[in-house]
């Protein structure tokens, strides 16, 4: 059956459209391919070690001496946890205060300046933070606390500054999303501005703020360069806060280029653990944000 010219024309367009759609599907698939490759590779290299060393020994062993066959990563995990926890404890209240300032209190011009400042801080590479840490912060810590200045306290401060833009901007978004009628309602009932913020707006924005803090934690755990430069890199369980310490990320960075054999696999296992932690964070944030998907 012969096609009319019109039919042929429409068919050609359909073909072209199908091809174009196929192209976009392919591009989208690359995203999945990327994650798949990453996941498969890290998992493959990361689980080799567990044939020889049990996961429990790996996660809870206290001795990290890879060249003598000890792969206990507890000091590193504790290191990551301690450094992250301190940084978040310092940064979260501060960031929240700034977010409140931006969303509720600041006059337009001041808000614009501070917002720009936050964005610029977010763009500064971690090496620069580490560099400032070495040059400015470490000597200060050394003179106040003694020792070498490299250690947990320096890590806390540098990391706190680094995750602040993340927590601030996301919290500010959450606060700005609270409908104005909540505010007017509170004020109409005679609340002071702060009471309105504290008792009405903050609770309403709770979910967003918690997600912001969780993402800040995720960023802190994954940070490598800045902590590498100021922590002193001693893979040992800390006994005081004025001590050098190492994190999972910094050990990987230090050792990966030369590690061979089981040592190399141990580093990939650490990377595997970090990957699992990242995925867990996404899952947690999604659960917290169950109502508003895609709002990020």
């Amino acid at each position: 059956m012969l096609k009319s010219k019109e039919q042929a024309f429409h068919e050609a367009i359909r073909h072209k459209e199908a091809l174009i759609q196929g192209f976009f599907v392919l591009m989208a698939s690359f995203t999945i391919l990327g994650l798949l490759l990453l996941f498969v590779y890290i998992t493959r290299e990361g689980t080799v070690l567990f044939k020889q060393v049990s996961p429990l020994e790996f996660l809870f062993g206290k001795d990290w001496k890879p060249t003598s066959g000890n792969f206990g990563t507890l000091p590193l995990i504790v290191g990551s946890v301690v450094v992250t926890a301190g940084a978040v404890l310092i940064s979260a209240p501060l960031s929240l205060l700034v977010a409140i300032f931006l969303a509720e209190i600041a006059p337009k011009k001041a808000a614009a300046y501070i917002k720009t400042a936050i964005e610029l801080l977010a763009g500064i590479p971690s090496v620069v933070y580490g560099f400032m840490g070495i040059i400015v912060l470490v000597p200060i810590i050394r003179s106040f606390f003694g020792g070498s200045g490299f250690g947990i306290v320096s890590g806390w401060i540098v990391l706190a500054i680094m995750i602040m833009p993340t927590i601030t901007s996301l919290s500010e978004g959450a606060l700005a999303a609270v409908p104005d009628r909540y505010r007017y309602g509170a004020l109409a009932l005679g609340a002071t501005k702060w009471e309105m913020i504290y008792k009405v707006v903050l609770p309403a924005a709770k979910r967003g703020i918690v997600s912001a803090i969780i993402l800040g934690v995720g960023r802190a755990i994954g940070e490598t360069m800045a902590v590498l430069m100021v922590l002193g890199n001693v893979p040992r369980l800390p006994e005081s806060i004025n001590q050098p310490i190492a994190t999972m990320t910094s050990i990987i960075a230090l050792d990966i280029a030369y590690a061979s054999g089981m040592h190399k696999y141990a580093l990939f296992s650490l990377g595997f653990v970090l990957l699992l932690i990242s995925m867990a964070f996404i899952a947690i944030v999604r659960i917290v944000y169950k109502g508003s998907y895609g709002k990020n």
Partner: protein, 278 residues
Amino acid sequence: MNFKKAAAVVSIMLLIAVAAGCARNAGSNAAKETVLKIAGSTSVFPLVTEIAEEFMKENAGYKVEVQAGGSNVGIESVKNGIVDIGMSSRDLTREELDSGLKPIVIAYDCIAVVVNPSNPVENLTLEQLRDIFAGKIKNWKEVGGLDKEIIVVNRDEASGTREAFHKLVMGDVDFRNDAIIQPGTGQVKSFVASTPEAISYITLGVVDSSVKAIKIDGVEPSLETVKDASYKIQRKLYLVTKGEPKGLAATFIDYCLSDKIQEGIVKKHYIPVKYVEK
């Protein structure tokens, strides 16, 4: 998504995988002839970088890419084929030699024990040195210095210098496990230069006025004391290749061993091979 689309996507991905495989072979051959990649010991790095600069000046059209990272990085990378030559400041192990790696000595080197210039200590015995690094001696006053806690700085585990120091000084004794770790020769030097209570070890080749090299058992590290073996903490510096050196790698290694270069390294406090192996 229906079957046709899925099939199309999968087949395109397979195509890409094949292309990647071809690219892999292309990559291994591309530019192999005119680009030399070297990586490894932070102790050998200063030496080889300057030799490479001279080499490139005299041989326009050739590129030598040199990077540090530590002896183990060099050995591991040359084993994996990522670089053509690895730099090592320690002897190769039995397994490394068995896997086909060939080390060539290009210089001798003193490991200088350095302290901050403000430190009054001038000399340590080998036993004292060992005890300090093992954590048995913890205060400078125990070795004739000020009443200050000793801050021991160790190299990272990629370091051939650390290996060599361990072998030559510590023997069977372990390093104290709370020493500060610095990941390179330069880092160690700058730490010691800025920390009055610090002590560490670096190649003599980078010692300058920012740190003070102390005597060991009364012997100062220098060309002469290496030759007559009175300075005990000395070692060989190697360029390592996988199998016999070929092509550009061989040319470069020969260049390093040429008389002109070997005489030049004396200025940098590295010791020429012929000087020792007369």
